[in-house]
Structure formats: C-alpha cells, structure tokens
Symmetry: C2
Subunit: 355 residues, 2 copies
C-alpha cells in the first residue's frame, strides 16, 4: 500500500512576494465581523517586517516566543486567547517565522476546530476536523515545516508531532528576502536540519524514485549554499528546504532526528542545533554525510557546544534514551525492521553520554 501524499496546494515563490499577502488574504476575508490571526515570531516585534503585516481593523496579531520549542500548553493558551477574542472562527491563520512558528500556527489552526488539548492529538492521524485555512510564511529555511504534515510539539510526556493531512498549510509564500538577516549560527543550524534530513532520507530503507528525486536535488542545493558562493543562496536554501520536506513523502528521517528529539525533550535544545550536535556523533551510520557536514562547519567557522549531557541525572538520561527509541518509524527507516537488534538501549545511552 502506497501513501496518498498530500501537498500544500498553493505556492507563491519570489523575492518580495510577502507584499502580496494582503491580496492572497482578500480572497479569504468574509463579512465585516470576520478577522485574520497573524502569528508572528516575537523577534520581529517592532521590526520592519511587523510593519509590513497587512493587518485590517479587527485582525489579531499575536507574538509568540520560540525561545523554547513549541509546547502543547503554549498552543492551548493561544487557542484560548483567540476564542476569547471572538466568538467566531478567524477567516485565516497566518504563521510568520521559523520552523517553531510554522508549527505553532499549524497547531493553533487545527485546535481551533478540534476539541480538547493539543496533547491529545500528538501522534498519527488523530485529528478529526479540517483546520481553519492557514498560510505559512517562513523567515528561516531548512526545517521543511512549511510543507510538512506535522506540527512538532513538546507535550507533558513526549515530543511528538500532530501528524495529519489537515496539518498541512493551504498556502505557502516563499519570499527569499525574508531569510537574508538570519544570524549566522541559526542560518547554519537550520540549514543543516535540511541537509541532515536529506542524508537520512536518501539512506533510508523506504526510499523510492519520488523521494530520491526531491532529496538529491535538495542536497545538491545545500551543497551550493554551504560549500560554494552564490548570490542567490537565500533562494536556493528556500528551495532546498521545500524539496527536503517533499522528500519525506515516501521516506522518513532517521537516527539523527530520533536522537535529537531525545536531547531536545530533556535539555530543550533547539531542533537545528540538536540535529547538528547529534549528527557529529553518527559517523558510523552516515560516514560520508558526517564528513561533508564537518567541511560545512569548518567553512562557516561553526563550533558546536559539547558535554551537554554531563551532570544529568540517571533518570534524565533514561528519559532521553526512551524518547529517542520511541520514534520507531525513524529507526525502522534507518536500519530496517530489525532495528532493535542494532540500536539497543545501551548503544543509545553511550551515544548520549558522549554528547
């Protein structure tokens, strides 16, 4: 049985296309009492981009902190805030920011139409009702969150996405100008999220020609961005992120993502950084990928934090291992059905102890 893969049905790509957001929303706006919710990374508070958000009277602009990875409690509070702002549903939810903001906006628009807490929906295909119409506008590239069918959240007892076809954006607007001012470290870590997930996808046991075509071109673009000099590197990175996300269609991420989830769950490490820290210890599984990744680090003068797990309690280490090993589809993609024989509790613990 093949997956029937859902794709974000409308895409706008181009330098400055953010300026067309008002036109895109115009098709969605209802009567005079209706409104749009803009979810903006608080880093843009008072910045030029905030001034360019096409806010109409009655619209709600919410700043979100992404200092921590998105939490189910944060989603539930945002939904409550919107529900108490208006008795009617918004015409649209627009997410503007990096991967965390992308995921927050997705989760919020889902939870506006699905009862209960977002923690109830962490898993696969648990969502019952279509979300409020939503637009994703990334200001950081690499996560693939703009195109994925998941919204990754840290809940009371796990870090796991709300995976469903309803999670997908209805529209994405990819404006390479929006990523030009990202600080170097963040640019690198997030870009590496994309590079690493291509390595994992192409190395995976689920791979077919669809995922391979997207993954190979995404890696090619990552190489151009991180190992060469191109005047349009922002455009290329945006496409790399999109293609990397599409590559997941008939594949999966693998060992690095699984381990980084464990790390992030216990330490709160941001996803891109967590992937980089973890990947650096996975030479045995992905020898060529890790070698090239180190070249990229060197070229951009990146040094990774070390000894992060030193001083953690046994209970914390145990949780880290368990959260990582809980991601069965990722391990299966990496090692096949017999993955448990290879990636034992002890082996996983040893890897984390090195980090």
């Amino acid at each position: 049985m093949y997956r029937n893969f859902s794709v974000v049905p409308r895409v706008m790509f181009g330098r400055g296309c953010f300026n067309q957001l008002d036109d895109v929303l115009a098709e969605r706006r209802g009567n005079t009492h209706s409104f749009v919710v803009f979810i903006l990374d608080e880093i843009f508070k008072g910045k030029a981009l905030e001034g360019r958000v096409p806010q109409h009277e009655g619209d709600l602009l919410v700043h979100v902190s992404v200092v921590d990875e998105p939490k189910t409690t944060q989603i539930d509070m945002l939904v409550e805030q919107i529900n108490s702002y208006s008795p009617v549903l918004p015409d649209a939810v627009v997410g503007i920011g990096g991967g965390s903001t992308m995921d927050i906006a997705k989760a919020v628009s889902l939870m506006l139409t699905n009862p209960g807490s977002s923690a109830d929906y962490q898993g696969w295909d648990l969502i019952k009702n279509p979300a409020v119409y939503k637009i994703g506008i990334p200001t950081l590239s690499g996560t693939g969150a703009e195109v994925s069918r998941t919204a990754i959240l840290t809940g009371p007892d796990k870090k796991l996405g709300i995976n469903s076809d309803y999670t997908l954006y209805d529209q994405m607007m990819l404006d390479p100008e929006l990523i030009k001012d990202v600080p170097k470290e963040q640019w690198f870590y997030t870009g590496m999220d994309c590079y690493i997930h291509n390595i994992e996808s192409l190395h995976g046991t689920h791979l077919n020609a669809f995922s391979k075509a997207y993954g190979e071109k995404s890696i090619d673009l990552c190489r151009q961005v991180f190992l060469e000099d191109h005047h349009d590197r922002d455009d290329k990175l945006m496409m790399a992120s999109l293609f990397g996300g599409m590559s997941i269609a008939y594949s999966q991420v693998g060992a690095c993502h699984a381990l980084s989830y464990g790390l992030s769950f216990v330490l709160g490490t941001h996803h891109g950084l967590g992937c980089c820290i973890t990947f650096d210890y996975l030479e045995e599984i992905y020898p060529e990928g890790v070698a090239e990744f180190r070249k990229m680090m060197q070229r951009h003068d990146i040094s990774l934090p070390r000894q992060l797990t030193r001083g953690l309690s046994d209970a914390q280490m145990d949780t880290m291992v368990k959260v990582a090993l809980n991601l069965e589809p990722l391990w299966e993609n990496c090692f096949g059905k017999q993955w448990r024989d290879i990636m034992t509790y002890e082996k996983t613990m040893k890897l984390f102890q090195k980090m």
Copy 2:
C-alpha cells in the same frame, strides 16, 4: 507580481499503485445512483489494464481515440455522451492514458460544469466553475500533462489550452509499471517533450530558483533515462515528467513548443514527435540542448521524418506561421519582450520550410 501557483494536491507514486484506484475512488463515491466516468485510451481496449479498471455497476467507461490530437469537437461530444447517460454529474472523472487522454479527461470534467463549447474556453482563466473531481493516471511519461494547469485542444481556429487553476487534477496516481510497454518511438518522443521543455524553461527569461530547481533535476533524470542504463528508468522518467511540469510554474516553454503547435495545427503531427522534428532545427537558439538531443536520438536509433511541409499550400504555410507566432508568452520567455524583432514572420516561415 508573482504567480500563486496551484499544485495537484494529492499524489500517489509507486509500482503497482494503480491497484489502489478503487480505494481512492471509495472516498468520492456518493449514493447508489452516483457513478464514475473512466476515460481510457482506446489502445487499452481488451487489454489487461482495462480489466483492472475498478468499474462498479453504473459506472461509465469511455474509450477515446488519440490518433489525432484532442479536438474541442471531441470534448463536446464526450460531454454530451455523459450528460445523456445520466441526469446527475459523475462523482469523478478518471483519465487513464498518455498526454492526450490526460488532457481529454481534464477538459471533459471542466465542461461538465461549464456551459457552452470547450472552444469558448481556449485561453487563460476563462473557466468560471470548478470542475468535477478528477484523477489523472498517466500511461506515458514526458508531457507533464498530469501536473499542468492546461488541457491543450485543437479548436476551429487555434491549437490552444484551456488554462486555469480548475484544470488541474485533484489527484494523480503515478505507477511506473504502466509505462513499461510503451513502444520505443512513442517512449522517446514523449520523453523528449519533457527534455525539450526543460531546455526551454531553463533558457527562459522568466526563470527563478523554484523553476530552476525542478527543471535541473528533471533534465538530470532525462539524462539518466536516455543516456545511461538504469533498472528503474520508468520510475525516473515519471519523476522527470512531474518535475518538468512543475518547472513551468515560474517559467514557460519556448521556441520549440511554439513552432510545434503550428506544425501540429496544420499537419496533425503528434505533440512529442512535433517537438522532436522542430527541435532538430533550433541549434541557433539552443545549441547545447540540440547537440545532446541528437546524442539521445543516436543512442536509441531514432530517425525523424523529414520534408513534412513540402507540398503544403501557401495558405497552409501561412496558418502554420501564424499559429506559432500567436503564442506570445512562449516567445517572450525565449527572447524577452523584444521577441518580435527576432522571430519575424519571414524567419519563422523559413524554419518551417526546412522541416
């Protein structure tokens, strides 16, 4: 202003995925009086594939001849046939065949919900009402028709597509097994349609990083298919076709497609073959592309028909030139806004006289 590009929202890819068509349709089937229309290339009449069509009681299976390129009169007759078959609209229209069949099924599902003749809608964004839900299942790869927003038809006075967002399929099912028995010439000509339109797109003045990423990977796959040996060449060609189609998002085809439209309009030459015949005379515009194309021809022992326009009347030659030059966006993509200074009536005529 950037185009807000619509994408086929659901994709299934994989060897044998045709077997899942019944499941996909199950989600769409209404009450007991409802029905599905299957539009099947008549080449499959009595063949194994026809036996695999998941026909339920009351469904309508129509064989279509694609000996000639699709005509507006053919579409209008099919719509009449479906309307007299049932007073209610079908739940779905499923097109199974090559590019012509893909376009016929698209046009039929549009014309079931839009009044008048299909000839009234040849052009850009003239369709007013959403089409009947439609599924495209290609059995030939290269045209990109499975993913394009056009249904190219020969009408009373022009060969021109019904271009609209409503023209897009709602679902495509890409099963590489379906293209394995295509006769060599047809396989080659249709594959070259893809190769050529990538050359045109990448050479175009409208190009951006989005279209470039898709076009480059599509060409890479075409090279693997036509210049190398791969066990999964059918899978690769299917992906090349899809990516070639996506590359058109922010680009356009160019000189070769424009000229081949003129040729087809007057002589009825099939699109893939028409593109090959024309491309062979465009060394001046696409020198590297034409050189590589000839290598591909040689490798597959293809010889093109010659002297096709010999013996045509002045009026026929005049029509051929006018139909070709009428495709302004294609010429503009090729040569920029000043294209009329380069591609004069006389120059176009001389090219056709050589063919």
